[in-house]
Amino acid sequence: MKAKHQRLVLVVIAVAAIIGAGLLAAWALRNQANYFYLPEQMAATPPAVGQAVRLGGMVKPGSIVTERDGVTVNFMVTGNSADAIPVRYSGILPDLFVEGSGVVAEGSLSPDGVFIATNLLAKHDENYVPREMEGMGTEKAAKMAADTTVGLK
């Protein structure tokens, strides 16, 4: 192989692999990225059953019900409209998870329309302050959420 030739082959292989990785990433990101929904968005255009998404809003006052096993909680998340999404979560609740507080639930919709949360993010988890709650303008739910999740100082 000529000297220039080998270098060219190496460059072509490297570029091909990186572009391949980029295309794969782009394709996977479209499918696997975790979209953020407000309750009214989820009510209007629900995500596919089982698709991992995030739901952010306000815990509806009076809606928190703990099941008999002591670790499963059901509650409703509301936003700017009257739409409320039922959420079920099994696990240890964030400390400042109370009625009327802002919350972001990570999880997916089940076939019966209940949002099964695998993780709840609230003020307790300063490490993951829900970014989605920031800068949403005057929307009431987002504002309340931001007050309870971000304004720590």
Partner: protein
Amino acid sequence: MTAEIGLAALWLAAALAVLQMVSGFAGLRAPADAAHPLAIYTRPAAIVQACLAVLAFFMLLRAFAVTDLSLKLVAANSHSMKPFIYKVTGTWGNHEGSMLLWVGVLAASGGLLARFERRLPERTIGATLAVQGFVALGFYAFLLLSSNPFERLPVPAAEGSGLNPLLQDIGLAVHPPTLYAGYVGLSVAFSLAMGALLTREVNPSFARVMRPWVLGAWVLLTLGITAGSYWAYYELGWGGWWFWDPVENASLMPWLAATALMHSVSVLAARDALRTWTIMLGVLAFSMSMLGTFLVRSGVLTSVHAFAVDPERGAFILALLAINIGGAFTVFALRAGAVAEGKRFAAVSRESALVFNNVMLSAILAIVLLGTLYPLLTEAFDVRVSVGPPYFNPAAAMFAIPMLLVMAVGPLLRWREDKPARLQFELALLASVAIAVIALIAVLGDFPLLPLLGLGLAPALALAAVLPLRGRRLARVPVATWGMVIAHFGIAVSLFGMACEGAFTEERLAAVAPGGTEQVGDFAVTLDSVAPVAGPNWTAIEATLSVSEDGGPPVILTPQARTFWSPPQSTSESALLTRWNGQLYAVIGNQTEDGRWQVRLWWKPFVTFIWLGGMLVALGGVLAIAGRVRVDLRRRMAAQKGAERRADLEALGAQPVPAE
């Protein structure tokens, strides 16, 4: 006074960085044989600058140690009631302090380079130090103009507002400084690459100078990532060890680039091949360090590490990033064509195995980079997304698995050219081990694909790691080769830990009344009592769990739910029971209305192997450095002895021969 001395030292250091840059570049303009009159200042400037920057850092350290509340930074991030150790580590637990640490380490490594490196041509060292000065100057400007750590308050605060309790942990004492030292080690590699490119000295002797810096940076990054992963594991109380959090990715990306660079610089040193590729990776590795700093410091991504959400600072770092990286790639584009072609090699050879792995590492880097930046990109279009394990795990594995396969075979191949037929036995052995293990485990149970592949690959990789020692006298194997063997073995150990954690973890989540017992794995966990406790700056609910393994004598675990009062925040302190074959992980939650307590338990088989493997990898790196340094010292001593003997002979020869 402390703060004023620190600030003055910082300004002086910035001025010296200018001198270092100007005199270094002046040296480049002089003709090859004549020294430029300004060039003599480069080394002294670098050394004095290092002393000043370190002095500035120690001044801030002192201000934190004595809790000088007239300093804005101390008042905002410390508290007089904090334990002393966390007062000190709090110095770099904030934006300004950590940037000062960055600059301090950067200047110190430049000073070391200026003081001790004599192997390279003076012009190359001059150019290297000039680049180093240029990079440092950007950070000095950043510190002095937009995040001055020594800013005084008009009226001293009565009390500080405390430090994020999650960061009040011994993990913080070691984690960021280790990572920063690693980032900065890569900046030296970057400066050396630029210096060599500018003076057309891209050759094996340059690679031998660069190698210890790359290895050192890589060892520190490995340790930093390992420590960070363990910290997240026990401090966040979520039972996971890697979250693909943007900040974790920010440390992983330079590591991937550094791993590639380390291998490619070894090829350049040993075989004089991959010249341009090594330079390219040098630029890439430092770009990733800068990008990591940008992501963490600018607040564009929110996470536990993002202390400041300040658009001005973000813009500043972004500008620095653009100038440094843009400049580097411009120089690269202009000069890369002038780098002579290195030695060639066949398609089946150790070089090409290394090239393949370099490319795979770069591809994983691209995957992680795109995944980390994607939420920022979509936000520009007002779509809010987050990217997590469902993306990262399969996409990264798609490149990691071929890389691991080639890693098993690569060290067995010969340099320059080899025949696959020579390795028939080894290949068959490794393949049969992997396939047998996968088949066995697939029969035994239903496990996810990735952990299954990991379980099969791990023993094959462990075996492959020690195969290069076959048929060699162990006492005569070079230390650096031991380093490679141990590092590759460490990868296998770590992979085994990850796969076991993924496949065999058992979880139990329940509300337990005092006296009640839950079973997880082989352990019976009884909730004895729950009681309030208090620490120096927190109060907590502490559960007493007695854990009995297979009916054996009980061991007491005390997980806590802590509430800090300055700043007000809660953390979950997990309790761990470590066995040789895994860890029991216990977290206490809230009390239910009927008086039971939420308890979350995990039995994680072999999870400790993840970090054990990481430490082995780092140990391998240390051995590689030690081996190289030893060979280098011997060579120097031999050269010195030879020179002495020649001088002696000449002296003898000059004497008139005495008559018999």
